[in-house]
């Protein structure tokens, strides 16, 4: 199959040399034929006449050989393409409009698919994302569903629920990294102690948050997202055990989450030191 294609292509691109070869081959044949007739006693003129008669049309042989080499199909395709290009060039405005609308259509489709893919098709990069549910409070007075819980409410939910395998709370926030001077805000979340265990996000370095890091009055600890670690610490492994200043409180850095983990904000910090009062809840059955 491949050798067949190579043969065809060679036949196509070395066309003139192949035609010349065929020509000299046919002439060779023709002259032998003439010599044979002369040998049998015919005059040279008569011999040539007979040979030409026997030979038929040179052009027809050429044509049949092209056919046999499989050039014709390829040649016809190339001719069609050239013809199409000529026509397109003759009507530049229509061509431009056609290309533009094609480009627009393809671009729009790609953009929409990218969005659909991210929102609908791809699931959260967590363990068993299909089992996650979000808990809401129904506010009868306002007639609204609320995902914001107060801390005492969260503690009740966490301590008393027995239908899910785990419960986590988190709240996105902004932290000021600067120890003084200009404010340097980064996005981050407060997360409950079980956050990483329940969602199945492994650390690549150090350890994850544990419930022990999420007690009233315990020292605050921080976990870095992979991207934040790379960006602010150049991926230095010795950051573990160091401190990070968030809103002018010192937090010990305990670990780095794996890349791509569902942790869009840069930091996670347990609720302590009088931080979080409100949280969202994810529960996992």
């Amino acid at each position: 199959m491949l050798s067949d294609l190579l043969f065809r292509l060679r036949a196509l691109f070395r066309r003139s040399s192949m035609e010349a070869e065929l020509d000299s081959e046919l002439r060779f044949h023709f002259e032998h034929e003439v010599a044979k007739y002369i040998g049998s006693g015919l005059s040279p003129e008569e011999a040539r006449r007979r040979a030409r008669l026997a030979f038929g049309s040179f052009d027809q042989v050429h044509e049949d050989c092209r056919e046999a080499r499989g050039v014709n199909l390829l040649e016809t395709i190339f001719q069609d393409i050239r013809y199409a290009l000529r026509i397109l060039r003759r009507t530049p405005v229509i061509t431009a409009v056609a290309i533009f609308s094609l480009a627009l259509g393809i671009g729009a489709n790609t953009a929409i698919f990218t969005l659909i893919d991210a929102v609908l098709l791809r699931s959260l990069p967590l363990r068993d994302p299909q089992q996650l549910v979000q808990l809401r409070i129904h506010n009868r007075v306002a007639g609204e569903h609320d995902t914001v819980f107060t801390n005492p409410l969260w503690e009740q939910v966490r301590g008393r629920q027995d239908i899910f395998s785990g419960a986590v709370a988190w709240s996105d926030s902004q932290f000021d990294l600067a120890k003084g001077g200009a404010v340097q805000n980064v996005n981050g979340v407060f997360a409950s102690g079980d956050y990483f265990n329940v969602l199945g996000v492994q650390p690549v370095l150090g350890r994850s948050l544990t419930p022990a890091d999420d007690q009233r009055g315990c020292p605050g600890v921080a976990m870095l997202s992979y991207g934040f670690w790379q960006e602010h610490f150049g991926g230095d492994p010795s950051v573990i055990g160091g401190t990070l200043s968030l809103d002018k409180h010192n937090f010990e850095i305990i670990g780095v989450a794996r890349p791509g983990a569902f942790m869009a904000p840069a930091l996670a910090s347990p609720r302590s030191q009088g931080f979080s009062a409100v949280s969202h809840y994810f529960l996992q059955p």
Binding site: A11, F28, K36, V61, D64, E67, A68, R69
Partner: protein
């Protein structure tokens, strides 16, 4: 009175060419001469079908061509069997023998 000439049945031209080339590499004219001689002038290959057939066989990788000097020292294109061509010849030969024997059998008895 020359013997009656027969038209070649479909597909036998390839077989004849392959068989002729199995002995030694030859150029186109020698192939047609040899077939004519061996068949005592019953079979004649027309140039118009010989050269397209050679190109077709070359494309199928059953024969390959190279330029060489002919007996009277002229440049001629010589064809020779490839390994695949030899296999193909065996296949076609046995198929032809079976076919010929079967046709003969039917003609004898039916």
């Amino acid at each position: 009175m020359p013997p009656e000439k027969l038209d070649l049945p479909q597909g036998t031209l390839d077989l004849l060419i392959l068989k002729t080339l199995a002995l030694e590499p030859q150029h186109g004219w020698a192939i047609s001469e040899r077939v004519q001689q061996v068949s005592k002038d019953v079979l004649q290959i027309q140039q118009g079908s010989l050269y397209p057939a050679l190109h077709r066989l070359e494309r199928r990788d059953w024969i390959k061509a190279r330029w060489g000097a002919s007996e009277n020292n002229r440049r001629a294109k010589y064809y020779e069997l490839t390994r695949a061509g030899r296999k193909q010849l065996e296949r076609e030969e046995s198929a032809w023998r079976k076919l010929a024997a079967a046709v003969a059998q039917v003609l004898k008895t039916a």
